[in-house]
């Protein structure tokens, strides 16, 4: 386990460095204007010298202990990013655990009901959840709530912006929809794979109850396949966080990160495409750390939960 954790840390350092290197690409453009100031053409030239210069410019304040710089209100970017990250964590952490628990539960349910009529609520519902984009569910939930509001049944909910509990609850639900179905599908196939295994037949022959078979034997061993997907789920949560925070005006880390990383649509000078590298570096730091932590947690959890990892020397 130790070497795996060390490897993960090294991977993070490498990935973060490459991201920073890309972020510090020189971005000045030359704009050619006509006689009355109208736009004619734009030119861009990459030079290693300019790239090195922009890296130096970025690191000088960092070395002087000024951190990633400050925004227009003189707040340091790093603390601003951390505040916004906390807001987003209120969505990510509950969504992560809710999607894992409900997803595994749904997978077990799908497995138990795989024959017979209840399959409709089991496997087939999961299939629909996987193939229909979660945006559809989100739009329908929003429209339903709006309809209820117009009819005066549920009023006074404020679904937009950050800071009100109902917006947090709804956003957590929006975020968990897809990962839940995704995990349900993986749990189901992990359980089906274990089903025919020899050790299950032995346990059944020795008279273990079906409850014990499913929860103690099959799920424990099937978990190995789930841990492979932790990274995918965290990545999915983060990309969807982006869309959901933007869609519901929840001003968290993903909302601001997008504001900083997307260039302006209006281009009127050589500096129009410049990015606020300090702010982006601060946000990117927290996002990559979050993914790193998720990876570490899944490594540690593997070590404790998986039967063959606990006893073995891997």
């Amino acid at each position: 386990m130790g070497t795996r954790i060390l490897k993960l840390l090294l991977q993070w350092v490498a990935a973060f460095s490459v991201l920073m290197l890309l972020l510090l690409l020189p971005r000045e453009v030359e704009i050619e204007s006509g006689p009355s100031g109208e736009f004619e053409a734009a030119h861009y030239h990459y030079s290693i010298g300019a790239h090195v210069e922009s890296i130096k410019e970025f690191f000088t304040p960092l070395m002087n202990g000024e951190g990633f710089g400050t925004d227009s209100y003189n707040r340091p970017f790093i603390s601003h990013a951390w505040d916004m990250m906390q807001r987003s964590l209120w969505l990510i952490i509950p969504a992560f655990f809710i999607s894992i628990f409900t997803g595994v539960a749904k997978g077990v349910f799908d497995f138990k009901t795989r024959h017979g009529k209840r399959k409709l609520a089991g496997l087939q519902a999961t299939w629909v959840g996987l193939s229909v984009p979660d945006l559809v569910f989100i739009i329908f939930i929003q429209m339903a709530l709006m309809y209820l509001n117009m009819k005066g049944i549920i009023t006074g909910l404020s679904l937009y912006g950050a800071g009100n509990p109902e917006a947090v609850v709804l956003n957590v639900i929006y975020l968990s929809i897809f990962p839940m179905f995704y995990l349900a599908n993986i749990t189901y196939s992990a359980l089906s794979d274990e089903n025919g295994a020899d050790y299950i037949r032995t346990a059944r022959a020795k008279g273990s109850s079906s409850f014990k078979l499913l929860y103690i034997h099959m799920l424990r061993n099937g978990l190995a396949k789930l841990f492979v997907h932790t990274n995918t789920i965290v990545l999915y949560l983060l990309s969807n966080l982006f869309v959901i925070e933007y869609f519901t005006n929840y001003r968290g880390a993903a909302y601001y990160f997008k504001e900083y990383i997307a260039v302006s649509n209006v281009i009127n000078g050589p500096d129009s495409l410049l990015l606020n590298t300090g702010a982006i570096a601060a946000f990117a730091f927290f996002f990559t750390i979050l993914i790193l932590l998720a990876g570490l947690v899944s490594q540690v959890a593997r070590g404790f939960l998986l039967p063959h990892e606990r006893g073995g020397n891997g």
């Binding site: 490498a14 109208e38 984009p133 990545l235 649509n265 281009i267």
Partner: protein, 296 residues
Amino acid sequence: MNKHLTIGGLMLAFLLFLTFIGPLLPVIDNSISQEGMRFSGGEIEVPPFPPSAEDPLGSDREGRDILSLIVAGAEETLLVILAIVVIRFAVSAVLGIGSYYSKTIRAVLSIWSQLFSFMPSIFIVIFFAGLPFVVFSEHRQIWMVVIIAAVEVGRTGDMIKTSMEYSAKKTFFEAGIVSGCSQWTLFKNYFWPDLRLTIVTNFISDMGRTLFLIAQFAIIGVYLQNAFWSIRGGGVEAVNDSFIWPTLLQNIHHDVFTAEWVVLSTVGIITFTMLTFYLLSSGIRRYYQDKYHQSS
């Protein structure tokens, strides 16, 4: 009967009909004309117009008929996602298959997938979309297609590699080695049948995923194609100038309250297309599984 394959096939036929025969239908306004206002029963209406006999699916904020916009955008939408997935799978097939044979290629694939595993692909694409040479490029759409294809090469390449390794562990593969097959025969007869299924089914379902990814970009205001409009006082503004479906979602914040038909029809056609690809993908998987079980 293979229900998924049949329904998926019919849905695909409908999509192709919409794309190629759609523009010839009389209800479709191929010039995508804008309409500022409309008189009905002595009253003036301004766009967005709700669904009516004139605009079966309503109109957008510029008075353009949504149904016509969907038909006009169909070909480009399908081509863009096809291009993305073709590039992605061509590169990942080389890396995935190659990493079974060569250590260097394995290292390249592993670096690629680890680099992108610390950042959601949506962030990386937005970042690249803002690079100066991508913003001003005449071939911005090609750049964007390549970038969107590249960020997920790690994932699909790993998948192909895993499929190879899985086959290599099986007893039938050992039998092939023992009986003295050449590397080429081993690949053609032992790896390829399983690999082909993995590639084909994932290729088709990736087309659905990619469409959804582009829709997500449109919601947050990142487009594949730009035109530049001069603005007063010098400078230009980059605006979207393509009819690709997801761009209909650019006003989703307002439309979801006031012109829900725009959102519903766009999300409807995107969902329909995604369902088509998922049904086809699972139908094909089932088709091969049935065939395999019959012959064994």
